[in-house]
């Protein structure tokens, strides 16, 4: 047995394959020490086999304990080894023992979706722990968990979660089909999986939502929707989602409703601002200066006097700078990050205006665009908005204010046309009738 496995694995140096002999019996054992929990292996196998060896008891233990699997096909043994299982050969029989080393034992702190007063625990990169977190929050017997193991290189375990009594059958069928047909070289993160699940590559808005918060996931499942968890990723995929789901922070459910409604309004205004402000700047400066008050017209006129290039080059220049700045502060180590912000934000902005490259109003526009983009609670969604903004800029360059208005209209039409796994994406109200209908089916 050992030879066959060693042949298959190519005898790597981090692999241990031994034949143990305690004087009474022999046992073949092979495992990856790095991937196995050595304490568990010692307690469950080594001690009974060596110090307290009793042939009858040992045989009985191997055959009855749930920790040992028997009758595993020979060609799958290598797969189990690679996941951190231990393979034992005893008396001509092969047993597989689960001794996977667990890196994490406690839930993570929230990092991306911070909450002021809500739960602070987030998903980890360990699937079992994640399932525990979900089960604790959504403690009902109707919670279904389905395992999927795609036939790809990383073979990460994927789990589909839903509430049996509440979920929509059509959506469930569709998602199951897509999960079964998953076949991709390396599947490394939930974001990648979400991309594969949503299929169309050039969509303008995300149709799945990534979250690190178990409370968000529980709430989503409670609404009759589905969630996908993946081993090795601390993000869960929620689907199907609506446009408006992205604008909710979990705090909205925990804070007084006056405050949360106000914040919600603030977020929508911010989203519109970050989407249209550069385009509006171009169209007002270059096409329709009569739109705003005469004071502002004169101020912009005066501050633009030193700027040599047309407004859209000014806008593209500043947007480029701010995007570079955001990207740089994201990739830099934390200690250097604040330096980048200081250099970029303060010095560059001030100097660019004094050098006459951009107008002072443009600096304000840029900062408003950058800041309001961060107000959007969901990172994926804010990325999409960040990109969409350039579409509006392009339209404004050629068609001015009318173009921006038409583009906004087209965006709404596009949103109305979109479906997230069969559910209307831009639906303001969730269709209760349909959810109820699916329950009766």
């Amino acid at each position: 047995m050992i030879e066959a496995i060693q042949d298959q694995l190519g005898n790597p140096s981090d692999f241990t394959a031994e034949t143990m002999d305690n004087g009474y019996a022999k046992m073949q054992i092979c495992f990856f020490p790095g991937m196995c929990d050595m304490d568990q292996l010692k307690d469950a196998v080594i001690v009974p086999f060596s110090y307290r060896f009793d042939p009858d008891e040992f045989r009985r233990m191997l055959h009855t304990s749930v920790a040992f699997m028997k009758d595993v096909p020979a060609n799958h043994l290598a797969d189990y080894l690679l996941k951190g299982y231990v393979i034992l050969g005893y008396e001509g029989e092969v047993f597989v023992f689960r001794a996977i080393r667990r890196m994490q034992t406690a839930p993570d702190q929230t990092q991306v979706e911070a909450s002021l007063q809500g739960p602070q625990s987030a998903f980890t990169e360990n699937l079992d722990l994640n399932l525990t977190l979900v089960r604790t929050l959504y403690n009902v017997p109707d919670l279904s968990v389905e395992n999927y193991e795609p036939g790809n290189l990383s073979k990460s375990k994927i789990v589909l979660l839903y509430d049996r009594t509440k979920c929509n059958d059509a959506t469930l069928k569709e998602v199951r089909k897509r999960l079964e047909n998953l076949d991709h070289g390396l599947l490394l993160s939930a974001g990648q999986l979400a991309k594969h699940l949503s299929q169309a590559k050039y969509r303008l808005f995300p149709i799945t939502q990534l979250t690190e918060r178990p409370d968000r996931l529980s709430m989503h499942i409670n609404k009759g929707k589905l969630a996908v968890l993946m081993d090795g990723s601390r993000f869960a995929i929620l689907l199907p989602v609506h446009f408006f789901d992205f604008m909710y922070a979990m705090d909205d459910h925990y804070e007084p409703s006056w405050m949360s409604n106000f914040m919600l309004g603030l977020r929508y205004i911010s989203m519109l601002l970050t989407l249209t402000l550069p385009a509006l700047y171009i169209s007002i400066v270059s096409y329709n200066p009569e739109v705003f008050r005469v004071q502002l017209a004169f101020t912009i006129d005066g501050s633009r006097a030193a700027v040599p290039y047309p407004s859209f080059i000014e806008v593209l220049l500043m947007l480029f700078m701010i995007e570079v700045l955001i990207e740089a502060s994201l990739r830099l180590p934390r200690a250097v990050g604040s330096t980048a912000a200081t250099v970029g934000g303060l010095i560059l902005g001030q100097a660019a205006q004094q050098a006459g490259l951009v107008s002072s109003v443009m600096i304000i526009v840029t900062s408003v665009v950058a800041i309001s983009n961060f107000v959007i609670p969901n990172t994926t969604f804010s990325y999409f908005i960040r990109i969409l903004k350039y579409g509006f800029v392009a339209v404004a360059v050629f068609a001015g204010l009318v173009g921006v208005v038409v583009a906004l209209f087209m965006m709404v039409v596009y949103l109305c046309n979109m479906r997230s796994f069969g559910e209307p994406y831009f639906a303001l109200f969730q269709s209760k009738a349909r959810v109820a209908g699916s329950k009766n089916r």
Binding site: I284, V285, S286, N288, P289, E290, V294, Q295, A297, F298, T299, I300, D301, G302, S303, R304, A305, V307, Y309, P310, S311, F312, I313, S360, V397
Partner: protein, 365 residues
Amino acid sequence: MTGKRMLSCIVCLTLLLVLGGCQLKDIDKRYFVVSAGFDYSNDPAKPYRVTLRLALPSSKVEEGGAMSVVQTVDAASIAEAVRHLKATVDKELEFGHCREFVLGKELVAKDGIYNSMQWLSRRRDIQSVSNMMIGDPDALSVVSLKPKSERYPGNSLFLSFGNEGTESAHTVTTYLFDLYRRLYETGLDPALPVASVFLDAYKIDRAALLDKNKARLYLDPEETLLFNMTAFGVDNTIIVLPDKPLNIVLAATRNTSSIDLKGGSDPVAVVNIRIEGFLEQSPPHLLEEDWSGLERKMAKHFAEEAERMLYKIRDAGVDPYGFGLHYLADRHNAKGSWEKWKSLYREIRFDVRAKVSIQGSGLIR
């Protein structure tokens, strides 16, 4: 993205840069016209003298910091004059922020407002909420005045109208859209404020009443106040009751007026007006003596004055109140009813029903 698509994208983006040389007129390549004046030049070949006040923008807005230049040209029509003016400036003329149009007194007397209105209402960049006025003695003097108190060019004149800055009851506010409506509406005639230069400021305390084209009657400041109160119901006015040694003055804070026609074939034009306010000036303890008597006396005095003004307006043959429109709207619009009204209006009697209510003396006992 394949290499080819990437390349075509890059080419398209590079083409964007070339746009800088195109006809993209940025805000700094435009000259903002802040006020425009039209005069009569006394030259039959080029009767229109167009004066534009162009703003020189600065990024700092401060008192007295307004800079502007004034350009004048004579031409056969306003449209031609504006085209010609473009040759004398270095940037594109932008009328989007021009909210003041001044028509010279002579132009209104000789050519009328009709031709100017044609140009004003056809240009798409001229706002319908622009203020219209008559310049006395000419538009040039009004447009070219640069008051020291201006924060930015054209601001001072703009603030004089409506409720933007000062709320003077002597100033009649007429917007372009309203003037256009009154020009074409049967039975409703236009009224325009008259602006003149007084020291280093504008004086807009008179009104001109026009028929469909030319000025028929210029009201003096006292009549303008009465006209503004009865026709437009402006608030924040005063009523004066002559008295010895000091006049009694009521500061009106609320003022509502409406017109009506009473009587069938021989109608009486009724102007209802309600005025509320407090006494700004009076002998001591006047209210305790006879509160309602004083109210009645003030109302009677106001009605007499207003009626005198109304008869004056009637005799000038104009109808800025819209009595004619009211007459046509009230009755079955048979053929000849407009002609009938015209003969009726010449002899019509007015009845001003004023109701003054004094809220107090403004003093705390």
